[in-house]
């Protein structure tokens, strides 16, 4: 589980992953719309949001704004 350690210090968790500086920044201060449109599987992304306490309406609002309504991503990695 990454939820509590992540909330305490995202940098410590992110150091374990091979991500770019931009990806690290968007994950540290989660930019759900950017992460969604850059190909994170939506199942993983929304559960990551839930795991760190983000409400679904807030999440959906951001991905909808970034991707446009009806422009769904079906899940291929």
């Amino acid at each position: 589980m990454i939820d509590k350690p992540y909330q305490k210090d995202p940098e410590v968790i992110l150091a374990n992953y091979d991500v770019t500086d931009e990806e690290r920044a968007r994950l540290k201060d989660p930019d759900w719309g950017w992460l969604y449109t850059h190909g994170i599987h939506p199942y993983i992304l929304v559960q990551f949001a839930l795991a760190i306490g983000v409400e679904i309406p807030q999440y959906v609002q951001q991905v909808k704004a970034a991707a446009g309504e009806g422009n769904s991503y079906s899940g291929a990695c």
């Binding site: 199942y43 993983i44 559960q47 769904s72 079906s74 990695c77």
Partner: protein
């Protein structure tokens, strides 16, 4: 030999556990009445083992190693693995049925299914949610069969039906006195993590339920594009179709359907055995 004494399916929206307040009182009552009906069916049939057919949502399985069809062979497991389901992580323990798992693996290979053995897995909401209502004391033995409904390319609907048929044959060939209930979970129309999250398509759901209950082969003609159009989570109808395959020939009945609560087209059905 073991018998299949009940076969049913239900949506597994995790919000039933994490945010039940999203349903109004009347809807929540209908959801619980639906679970009561399903529970009465397998209880009155004397079921002592529940075979769950569901996908896993990358909480315990790594997307880099995700099987098309997986059989959990562990003796026990704990869950939930999620911290957001409304109950403490790993607060539920279940006893699996590894002997039946091996029987499914053997029959699968015999019939040309190259199944993946999953010897260790935590329990995510795909497995847990419905059972939390149906067997809240967790006093049955269980088997978890995992179908890939989440990571394209997905097995075809017909392949999932055939998988279920094979599972049914494996159960009936199992040298055991067990009385087995089958439970498919997931679907119906819904989107997970996409901008469409919250949208459902009752017309699609009703068409699918009608085909499923009639065991109409036209259900295999539903394309992945049609399913995608009503939400990526809708691919979980594969789990319902597998249950239909396990009881090939049996007709089904819709137990309940709500047009969109808990971000899904909310339905339950059971087959008449």
């Amino acid at each position: 030999m073991a018998n299949i004494v009940a076969a049913m399916s239900s949506v597994h929206s995790p919000l039933m556990m994490s945010a039940p307040q999203m349903a109004d009182e009347a809807t929540w009552g209908r959801i619980n009445t639906g679970f009561d009906t399903l529970r009465d069916t397998f209880t009155s049939a004397g079921a002592d083992t529940i075979v769950v057919i569901s996908d896993e949502h990358f909480n315990a399985l790594d997307p880099r190693r995700y099987p098309s069809f997986g059989v959990v062979t562990a003796e026990t497991s704990v869950g939930p693995v999620e911290n957001w389901l409304g109950i403490p992580c790993n607060s539920i323990s279940v006893r699996f049925e590894p002997e039946l798992a091996e029987a499914v693996l053997d029959e699968g290979v015999r019939q040309g299914f190259d199944l993946t053995r999953i010897g260790e897995v935590g329990l995510d909401y795909g497995f847990l949610t419905c059972l939390n209502f149906l067997t809240p004391r967790w006093d049955m033995s269980y088997l978890w069969l995992i179908q890939n409904c989440v990571l394209p390319p997905l097995p075809s609907l017909k392949r999932c039906y055939d998988f279920g048929r094979m599972v049914g044959q494996a159960i009936r060939s199992w040298d055991s006195s067990r009385r087995v209930a089958l439970l498919g979970t997931g679907g119906l129309s819904h989107a997970v993590g996409t901008p469409d999250m919250g949208k459902v398509d009752p017309q699609f759901d009703k068409k699918f339920l009608n085909l499923l209950c009639q065991q109409d082969p036209a259900m295999f003609d539903i394309t992945d594009a049609e399913i995608d159009a009503v939400g990526n989570g809708t691919h979980e109808i594969r789990n319902w179709i597998a249950v239909a395959g396990a009881v090939e020939g049996a007709r089904g009945e819709v137990v309940m359907y709500e047009e969109g609560t808990m971000v899904v087209g909310f339905g339950m059905m059971q087959f008449q055995l």
